[in-house]
C-alpha cells in the first residue's frame, strides 16, 4: 500500500539528510521509525508527507506522490492523517472544532456525527468543549490523533506521539493507537526514539542511522540481531561485557527466546538431559506486539556442554556463546 523507493532528501542542495531510503508498508501494519536525535526521522516523515520535496518514489496505492501537482496533492492529503509532535492544535478552537476542521475543509456532510464518533473513540467526550490550553499533554495528543483520523485516512503518520508524555499516559496513548489500527485497519507510521514504543505496538521497524536505513524488517529479529548496538546507543547503562566475567570455569552463553519457546521449560528439560548445571547471570522477558521476547545469559557447567548447546539451539530463537 505504501512503497518507498530510493528516497533522498537535502535541505541545502549539498548535504543529504536522507540517503537512499527504501521500505514497504502493507495495509494495516504499524511501522516504527526509530533512530537517535538528528538521524532524520522527522525529515523522513516530512518527505513522506511531501512537506519537503524529496527525490525518489513514494508509491501510495501505486500512485507516485512525488509526481502529483500541488492541486492533486492537496486533494490526496485527505487520505493521509498526520499527528504532529507538538500537536499543533488551533488555540482559539475547542476540541470539537479542532477535530471537525478537516471535515469542514473537505466540505463533508454529517460533520457533527462523524466528529462525535471520533471523540468517543479517543475518549474525550467530557472535554469536547474545552480549549487546547486547558488540556493535559495526553489529552492534546488525543485531539491531535482524532483530527488525523476523522476523515478516515488510509494511512496515519505519528511524529513522536509519546515523547512528551509520562509513562502511564504513554501506555494509554499506545493502547489508543493500537485500537485505532485494529478498528480502522489503518496503516500507521510512528516515529519515535523510545524502544518501548516499538516493542509495544510495531509490526515492522525501520532503524535510521545518519539518514540511512540501518535495518528494516521484523521487530523481533531487530532486537536479537542489533542487541549490542542497541545497548550501546539507546541504553548505555545496561551494557555489560559478560565475556570478561571472572567466574570459575563455566562457559557463558546467551539465549534468545521468541514466541512459543518463551513459555516452555526447554532450558530445564535439556539441561537435565545432559546433566548441566546453570547459573543465570542475566534474564529478561519483554512483550513485543505479537509475541513475548526473552533473553537469558547463563553460565553453564558440565561434561556435555557442547551437546547441550547444540540441542538447545534447536529449541530457541538464537543462541550465542559469549565465552568458551
Amino acid at each position: 500500500m505504501l512503497e518507498v523507493k530510493n528516497l533522498n532528501l537535502t535541505y541545502d542542495g549539498k548535504n543529504y539528510v536522507l540517503k537512499d531510503i527504501s521500505f514497504k508498508l502493507e495495509k494495516g501494519e504499524i511501522l516504527g521509525i526509530i533512530g537517535l536525535s538528528g538521524a532524520g526521522k522527522s525529515s523522513l516523515l516530512k518527505a513522506l508527507n511531501l512537506l519537503e520535496k524529496p527525490q525518489g518514489e513514494i508509491l501510495f496505492n501505486n500512485i507516485d506522490l512525488t509526481q502529483l501537482s500541488r492541486k492533486e496533492l492537496r486533494k490526496f492529503r485527505k487520505k493521509i492523517g498526520v499527528a504532529f509532535q507538538h500537536y499543533n492544535l488551533l488555540s482559539r478552537k475547542t476540541v470539537f472544532e479542532n477535530i471537525s476542521l478537516p471535515l469542514i475543509l473537505n466540505k463533508e456532510n454529517e460533520i457533527e456525527k462523524k466528529v462525535s464518533n471520533v471523540i468517543k473513540k479517543v475518549g474525550l467526550e467530557h472535554r469536547k468543549n474545552a480549549f487546547p490550553a486547558h488540556l493535559s499533554g495526553g489529552e492534546k495528543q488525543r485531539v491531535s490523533i482524532a483530527r488525523a483520523i476523522v476523515s478516515n485516512p488510509d494511512i496515519l503518520f505519528l511524529d513522536e506521539p509519546t515523547s512528551a508524555l509520562d509513562p502511564k499516559t504513554t501506555e494509554k496513548i499506545l493502547e489508543l493507537i493500537l485500537k485505532i489500527n485494529q478498528d480502522m485497519k489503518i496503516s500507521t507510521i510512528i516515529v519515535t526514539h523510545e524502544m518501548d514504543v516499538i516493542k509495544r505496538i510495531c509490526d515492522k521497524i525501520l532503524y535510521l542511522k545518519n539518514g540511512k536505513v540501518h535495518y528494516f524488517g521484523e521487530v523481533y529479529r531487530f532486537f536479537s540481531e542489533f542487541e549490542k548496538e542497541l545497548n550501546e546507543e539507546f541504553y548505555r547503562d545496561i551494557n555489560y561485557n559478560y565475556g570478561k566475567l571472572k567466574l570459575k570455569n563455566g562457559k557463558i552463553i546467551k539465549v534468545i527466546f521468541y514466541g512459543e519457546s518463551v513459555g516452555k521449560p526447554v532450558l530445564n528439560k535439556i539441561s537435565k538431559k545432559y546433566d548441566i548445571t546453570f547459573n543465570i547471570l542475566y534474564g529478561k522477558i519483554e512483550d513485543l506486539k505479537n509475541a513475548p521476547f526473552g533473553k537469558l545469559i547463563l553460565e553453564i557447567e558440565g561434561e556435555k556442554t557442547n551437546e547441550f548447546i547444540n540441542d538447545l539451539k534447536e529449541h530457541v530463537y538464537a543462541l550465542e556463546v559469549l565465552r568458551l
Binding site: N49, L51, K78, F84, N88, L90, R92, K93, P102, L105
Partner: protein
C-alpha cells in the same frame, strides 16, 4: 470658558486623527503584512521578487522622518483633501507613515507562528486563503491587538508633530499657547489630556488582548 471649548475641540481633533488614520493603517497595513509574510515563506521565485520590492519600499518610507514626510506628501494631501491645513489633511500623512509601520509589525508577528503550523495547514490541504483565515490571523490575534494598541499610541504622538505644521489638535494648541504665548498652564492641560488618551488606549488594548487570549 473659551479655553475649555478650545481644549475640547483640540482633544476631539486629536482623537479623530488618531483613530481615523489608525483605522486606515490597519486596513492597509495588516494585508500588506500578510503579503510580506506569505511571500517570505514561499519557495517560489516570483514570491521572492515581490517580497524584495515591498521590502525596499517599506524601508524607504520608514526611514523618512515624519516631519519631512508631511512636506513630501503635500501634493497628495492637496489632491485628496483639497487643503493642507486641518485634521483631515493630517490623516493623509499620518496614514502613509503608519501603514509601513503596521505592515512590519504584522510581518514579524506572523513570523512568530511556529513553522509546524504551516506544515499542519499543508497536511490539512488548506489553500492560502484558508490558512490566513483559520490559522494565521486567529493564532496571532492577541498579538495583532497589541500591535494595534502600539500603533494608536504612536499615532497620538505623531498627531502632535502634525499639529506643529497646521493639523490642529492638542499638539497645535500646545504650540500656539505654550510656546508662542508662554501659557504654561494650557501646555500642562494639553499634556495631561495626551497622557490620559494614551493611558486609555493602553488600558483598553490590554483588556481586549486579555479577553481574547485563551490561556
Amino acid at each position: 470658558m473659551n479655553i475649555l471649548n478650545e481644549l475640547i475641540k483640540a482633544t476631539l481633533e486629536t482623537v479623530y486623527m488618531t483613530f481615523f488614520s489608525g483605522f486606515l493603517s490597519v486596513i492597509f497595513g495588516i494585508p500588506l503584512g500578510i503579503i510580506l509574510y506569505l511571500t517570505s515563506i514561499s519557495q517560489l521565485k516570483i514570491s521572492k521578487v515581490i517580497y524584495r520590492i515591498f521590502d525596499v519600499i517599506i524601508n524607504i518610507f520608514r526611514s523618512i522622518p515624519f516631519i519631512i514626510l508631511i512636506v513630501l506628501v503635500i501634493p497628495l494631501t492637496k489632491l485628496i483633501v483639497g487643503t493642507i491645513i486641518g485634521p483631515k489633511s493630517a490623516i493623509v500623512s499620518l496614514t502613509i507613515a503608519a501603514i509601513p509601520f503596521m505592515a512590519r509589525l504584522s510581518e514579524s508577528t506572523f513570523k512568530s507562528l511556529p513553522k509546524e503550523m504551516i506544515d499542519t495547514a499543508h497536511t490539512l490541504g488548506m489553500n492560502n486563503f484558508e490558512f490566513i483565515a483559520k490559522i494565521l490571523i486567529p493564532e496571532t490575534l492577541p498579538k495583532i491587538v497589541a500591535n494595534i494598541t502600539l500603533l494608536l499610541i504612536n499615532l497620538v504622538t505623531y498627531t502632535a508633530i502634525a499639529g506643529a505644521v497646521g493639523a490642529g489638535g492638542l499638539g497645535a494648541m500646545a504650540i500656539n499657547y505654550g510656546y508662542q504665548r508662554f501659557r504654561l498652564d494650557i501646555l500642562m492641560y494639553d499634556l495631561i489630556i495626551l497622557i490620559l488618551i494614551t493611558q486609555i488606549i493602553q488600558f483598553v488594548g490590554m483588556k481586549i488582548e486579555k479577553i481574547i487570549d485563551i490561556k
